[in-house]
């Protein structure tokens, strides 16, 4: 399944190995992680059906635009600690430019379009992140 919104973490090495095809020369992985900006934990919530559909549309666009051979997107939800994976994108393509281009495109589109939100839990309360 190329798009998953899930509480569970994933095995990136396994995603890479399973992505491989004979015509592939480049794999690019983006792993967005919880950065310590003075936060205690971060809580991610999503409109799961809506976000899945938006991301599937983004992926379909990217596959055509960048001639991608494989795409996996895993967006996590739930309460996460500093250092935990939030978003993992694994792109396989014939050549490096396509793989980088596709990965950055999917990432930027997810950030602006997918109905997913972050709430930062601080020592003294919490706040919604609005980008």
């Amino acid at each position: 399944m190329p798009v998953r919104i899930t509480k569970d973490d994933v095995d990136i090495a396994k995603l890479i190995e399973e992505s491989k095809k004979e015509s592939m020369g480049a794999i690019v992985v983006f792993d967005g992680i919880v950065r310590n900006d003075g936060i205690d934990k971060i809580e991610l919530s999503a409109y799961i059906e809506g976000a899945t559909k938006e991301i599937e549309e983004i992926v379909a666009d990217a596959e055509k635009k960048f001639n991608l051979l494989s795409v996996e997107v895993i967006h996590r939800i739930g309460v996460l600690d500093v250092g935990d994976n939030i978003l993992i994108i694994v792109i396989g393509a014939g050549h490096r430019k396509e793989a980088f281009g596709g990965c950055e495109y999917i990432l930027e589109e997810i950030k602006t379009r997918a109905p997913i939100w972050k709430k930062e839990h601080l020592k003294d309360g919490s706040r919604w992140v609005e980008q």
Partner: protein
């Protein structure tokens, strides 16, 4: 007419996670009319989603049956029984 309205992120804290909204469909029966009628039952919070003139606030995002709807088109989107509408603030995933 029965529709489902889902709210997300900080809107959940105001309007709840989701509501089944039952109403008498008027002549226009647009998405904007229906969500407006629902939000008017929270008079103190109506301004979070709508302007005084009854337009969606310019940060509000809308999905109708999993399709993104432009705010400016929300008055033209006709609803059918069982439709699902999602109303949410700017996203922050990734």
């Amino acid at each position: 007419m029965k529709i489902k309205i889902k709210f997300f992120a900080r809107f959940t804290e105001i309007f709840g996670k989701e509501a089944i909204f039952e109403y008498e469909a008027g002549e226009t029966n647009s998405l904007k009319d229906a969500v407006g009628a629902f939000c008017r039952s929270y008079p103190e919070k109506y301004g979070e989603v709508f302007t005084r003139d009854g337009e969606f606030q310019d940060y509000v995002l809308i999905m109708h049956n999993l399709e993104r709807i432009d705010r400016d088109d929300a008055g033209a989107v006709k609803l059918a029984d069982g439709d699902e509408i999602a109303i949410y603030p700017p996203v922050a995933g990734g």
